[in-house]
Structures are given as C-alpha cells and as structure tokens.
C-alpha cells in the first residue's frame, strides 16, 4: 500500500477519542431564550455595534458591521429584543462587548424552504462581496475573516487550493459529520471558491481515521466530474495547522515568517466551505454552526447544529447533561481549545466543540522542573526549541526568546502535551508573545 502523506517533522499521536460521536447524525440544537452574541467572533478588530438596547431585531439582521480591514460582520441568530449590550469574556480570554437578545417574534427563515440562487452567473467581485457581507470566518478555530483570505493581493496567484478536512483535534467530529451529511453542499461551496480563486489544483485533505468521508466525497466528485481530488493523510496532530497541512499535501514548506500565498497556496476549512455555500446559494449569514458536544462527562455525546449565541448549558442539556462531575469544560478541541468556567458562555462562529472532560481524561500532574528530555523538541511541528524559549521567557529574556523562534510557534500544544514535567509551555509562549507585543507597541509609541 502506498504510504500516506503527512508532514515529516514533529507531531504527536494523542488518543483521538472520536468514536463517541463520529457516527452521531447532526441534530438541531435547542435554542435558549436569550442569545448572547459577541461582537468579536473573529481575529481582528471587533465589529461596530449597529443596535442599541430596546431595538427589535430580525433573524439574520446585521448586528455588527465589520470594523476594519481584518474584521467580519455579525448577524442576529434569532429574532427578538436587544436587552442589553454588556462586556463578556470569551473562552480565549478576550473581553468583548456582546449583544443580548431576548427571543421573541417570528423566525423569517427557520423551517421555511429557501429557493437556491443561481451563482454560476455571478462575477468574482459579487461572490467575494457576498462572502464578506455574510460574515464568514474560518471555522477551524482561527476565525480569520474569509473575504480577506480570498482577496489575493496583486501579483500573487493561487496555484493550489487546499480544503482542510483533517480535523486532527481529538474528540471533534463536526467536520466529519458535515462531510458525511452535507457533502454535496460542501463541494458546491468549494466550486464557488474555485471560481473566486481559479486555482489549477484543488485538494481536500482528510486524515485516514475518516476513510468513510474520503470514500463518500470521492464518489460524489466522480459522480459530478468535479475538478478536485481527495487526499487521505496519515493521522498525526497537528496536521490541521495551515503550514503543516500544506507541507503534507504539497511537500513544500512555507518560508518562516511568510504567508502560504508565498507558495501560491490558499486553504479553507470544510465548515467554511459549507458556510460559503449557504451564504451564496441560500443567502444565509453565519448564524449557526455544527458543534461536537463530547467528553467523558457528557451523557450522550452528539453533533449539534446550534445557533450562534446559544449557551453551552443549553447544548449540554440537549446531550442529556453531565454523567459525572467534569474537571474541565473546554470550548474547542482538547489540544488548542480553551477552558471556560461559565456555562452561560455562548457558542460563537469558531466554536467547533464543547467538551466536558473528567479528571481521568485530562491526566493532570504536578508541574516539576524541566528534565531536558527533548520531547518538546521532537514533537514540535515548527521545529523550534520549546524548552529553551520557555526558559528564556521565564527569565524575562523576551527578546532572546523572540530570536529563538517564539513567533514561529503556532500554539498547537504538542510540546506541552508531551512534557513529562507538565510545564504549561503554550501558556508561557502566549505570555511571551503578549509581552513582546506590548514592548513593540511601547517602542512604536516612542
């Protein structure tokens, strides 16, 4: 058998724990009475709030307008009344204003059949405008505004378009289910992007633990004679990281400090492709997404289609609640996700999963001193020296840490996962980056 492609350097093999939810068909989630819609659900500037307390909003109405070059629109997921606009903490630790909407009135779209819009006749500009208008962001977790990504600067071309269907995070199965159940829509979404980018090659990268999805999409592509290929990849974390996926698929390395476009590569998540399809063909903004609810402490792990702004509590209750006391509630996957302490935390565009993990699953241990075992080095997919960088940051030698490659770190967590001393390396790198940014701003201010 031919050896499957993967990226050569670093990477780890955590238990993938997907069996609990990989066969669960996507269900519609309940809606909580109030939706809390944060105005910053993407990387970049928060959206500018367009509503005020007491306003009545409709389903899909624009709540926040893109607030800068790298920013995205925010739409109301439910019809109702704006109760207040308050600051909340998102799981990634960022404090942002959020619009609290009490559900009331009629849903204009829910449950109604929508006519498909023929998009083949639309121009590239029109398509991009649609993507921008509907507030589409990368749904793999990075939440980079998609319209910015699709706007290729002058002089650059897209050679290869890669669809990230790797889903290398353990537990998560939402992309897997989307491919199985919404395969046609996803492929249609890909075709829309093909039109925008006109790449010479389109590859869908899927890890080999989802062979059913590989076969399903392959069949669909062959049936419709589409100009794209499905590439099964070896199972290895973090294959979903942009640069590592490109290396795995094309064998080329994106130069350090450069963007993938340098190699003529653009990639997008499966979920993003689905959103693009919905935006263009169904004229629907991003107001819902598929969320995997799983973990040892969840009674019935499931994949749910949830409205943005729904609280975690609602979704967990949909899954039968907790079977035992969770040690951690995680938004996202266990490798890069964030812990939350408040079950009223809302689902955002980037929430790919909600995990309730037990003590037994997290394998916490007391932090000890670094043993210089070198596991962080051998697991690092970016080929930096985590222990050295961490020690430099720990000793306030931030500039030296930057020189040693701090900014190359993608925070995938491989090093901290492997570290036998249980040193929170990634937290250290985030802290270092924060201080570095602060210093840079101070210098610029001077």
């Amino acid at each position: 058998m031919k050896r499957l492609n993967t990226f050569p350097k670093g990477g780890i093999h955590p238990r993938d724990c997907k069996e609990a939810s990989c066969d669960k068909v996507i269900q519609n989630a309940s809606m909580s009475n109030t939706a809390v819609v944060p105005l910053s659900q993407h990387i970049g500037a928060p959206a500018e709030c367009l509503v005020k307390k007491g306003d009545i909003v409709e389903e899909g109405q624009l709540l926040g307008k893109s607030g800068g070059f790298v920013s995205a629109n925010i739409h109301s997921p439910v019809p109702g009344e704006v109760k207040e606009i308050k600051n909340i903490f998102l799981p990634n630790g960022i404090s942002t204003p959020a619009v609290v909407i009490e559900m009331q009135g009629e849903f204009s779209r829910l449950g109604k059949a929508v006519p498909s819009i023929p998009w083949e006749g639309m121009s590239v500009e029109e398509l991009t405008a649609k993507v921008s208008e509907m507030g589409i962001v990368g749904q793999g977790g990075a939440t980079f505004p998609t319209h910015v990504k699709l706007a290729i600067p002058k002089g650059k071309t897209c050679e290869i378009f890669i669809i990230n269907a790797v889903e290398c995070e353990p537990y998560l199965t939402s992309d897997h289910r989307v491919m199985m159940e919404k395969g046609r829509e996803v492929l249609e979404g890909i075709r829309i992007i093909q039109k925008i980018l006109s790449p010479s090659r389109t590859v869908i990268g899927i890890e080999a633990n989802k062979m059913d999805a590989v076969e399903h999409l392959d069949t669909l592509i062959k049936q419709s004679g589409l100009n794209m290929e499905v590439m099964p990849l070896q199972v290895k974390y973090p294959q979903g990281a942009e640069k590592n996926l490109i290396k795995a698929v094309t064998g080329k390395e994106v130069p350090s400090g450069k963007l993938p476009l340098e190699l003529g590569v653009i990639n997008a998540n499966v979920g993003t492709c689905l959103s693009i399809y919905e935006a263009v063909v169904e004229d629907k903004p991003v107001i819902e997404r598929v969320v995997t609810v799983s973990g040892g402490a969840i009674k019935n792990p499931s994949n749910l289609k949830a409205r943005i702004g729904t609280s975690f509590r609602t979704l967990i209750e949909d899954c039968g609640g907790f079977s035992e006391e969770p040690a951690k509630i995680v938004a996202g996957g266990p490798m890069m996700g964030f812990t939350v302490y408040d079950l009223d935390t809302p689902v955002t565009k980037g929430t790919s999963g909600i995990l309730a993990l037990t003590d037994k699953e997290i394998k916490a241990a007391r932090q000890t001193a670094c043993l210089s075992c070198g596991r962080c080095l051998s697991s690092c997919p970016m080929g930096v020296n985590p222990t050295k960088i961490f020690k430099l940051i720990d000793n306030n030698m931030i500039d030296e840490a930057a020189e040693a490659g701090l900014m190359d770190c993608v925070e995938c967590g491989s090093c901290a996962f492997m570290c036998p001393a249980h040193i929170p390396l990634v937290q250290g790198f985030r802290t270092g980056k924060k201080i570095l940014r602060k210093n840079a701003m101070k210098k610029a201010g001077k």
Binding site: K388, K391, L392, D394, N395
Partner: protein, 196 residues
C-alpha cells in the same frame, strides 16, 4: 616528549585552568557568553604562542649566556605586557566589536598567569624552541577549550533557578571543579600508554 605528547599534556592532562589554576580571572570573567569566551580563548592562544617563542629566545640567547637568570621575571613580564598591549591596540583599532565584548579583560591577559606561567614552565622543563611554541600553543588551546565549555554551561545556567548567592562566580567555580574532576580521566599514565 613528542609534540603530540606535549599537546595532549597541555590541552587535557595539565590543562592550564582546570589543573594548574592559571588564568582563572578571565576564565571566570569572560565566560558569560560563548562568543566572548571564544574571542578571549583565541586571543590568549595567540598571545601565549608568541610569548612562548619570544621568551624562549630571550632566555636562551640573552639571559642564560649572560648569567642574568635573576632578571627572568622582570624581562618576561615586560615582553608579555608589550605583546598584549600590541594585540589590544590592534583589536581596538580593527575590531571594535570584539574589543567591546572583551572589555577590560584584554589588558588582563597581561596579568593572565597562564601566559607567564607557561613561559616559566617552558624554561623550567628545558624545552627547545619548537617544543616551547607547541607548549604555548596547546596551553592556549587548553584555555580555549575550558573557557568555551564553561561559557556554554554558564549560558545554560542563566535560565536555571540557581540559588541566589551561588549565582555567577560561585557557580562558575563549582562547575569548573566538576569539569576538573571529569578531566582527571586524563593522566600521565594514559599518555604513556597511548604514545609509549
């Protein structure tokens, strides 16, 4: 003794720093980072080789025939001082970066006991001119080796949680002690077995 023997002796067995305690001041002072340690090591090697040659010549051509051995100390130190001043000026002129890195330690080569020590040892051991040069050169190499190893250890220690009062110089000495212990692997018997 063969030249190889002299080299092994002065680099490993009688390492100027780790076994003869010569040149400890710059060893502790300039070993805080690898780059300046290398610079210092090369500077010392250079000065030491030249000084060995020159002092040999002075001793055997002037002091010995004229019966002026009692002036050995004063003459040797003058020559070394002159050489060092020369090197210092040249470095200062042509490589300000190196000069800045070595800082006040370049003039300290003058009082680097290693240079003077090797010169005296050469004379006491009755080496001929090439042997003297070899001894001086390999003495410098031994210094270079020890200071480079030490600097890498110290850079590593900079990010470890060394107890406060043991930081810097004490830790350098103690590391030096452990190195000296490991260097005890090399002894005269090993040399004799190796090259007969």
């Amino acid at each position: 003794m063969s030249y190889l023997g002299i080299i092994i002796t002065y680099v490993f067995i009688s390492n100027v720093i780790l076994s003869q305690f010569l040149g400890l001041c710059p060893f502790i002072g300039v070993s805080k980072n690898v780059e300046s340690a290398l610079g210092m090591g090369f500077a010392v090697t250079f000065v030491m080789s030249i000084a060995s040659l020159v002092t040999w010549a002075i001793y055997h051509m002037i002091l010995l025939p004229l019966g002026l051995i009692y002036l050995q100390t004063i003459v040797f130190i003058l020559i070394i001082a002159a050489l060092v001043q020369l090197v210092e000026m040249v470095v200062q002129k042509y490589s300000p970066i190196l000069y800045k890195a070595l800082g006040i330690y370049l003039p300290l080569i003058t009082t680097n006991c290693a240079v003077m020590g090797i010169a005296l040892i050469n004379v006491n051991s009755g080496y001929n001119v090439i042997e003297s040069f070899t001894a001086g050169f390999s003495g410098g190499l031994g210094f270079l080796l020890a200071i480079t190893l030490m600097s890498a250890v110290r850079v590593q220690m900079e990010t470890e949680k060394v107890p406060r009062y043991l930081k810097d110089a004490p830790i350098a000495f103690i590391s030096g002690g452990l190195m000296a212990m490991a260097f005890m692997a090399f002894d005269k018997a090993l040399l004799n077995n190796l090259i007969g």
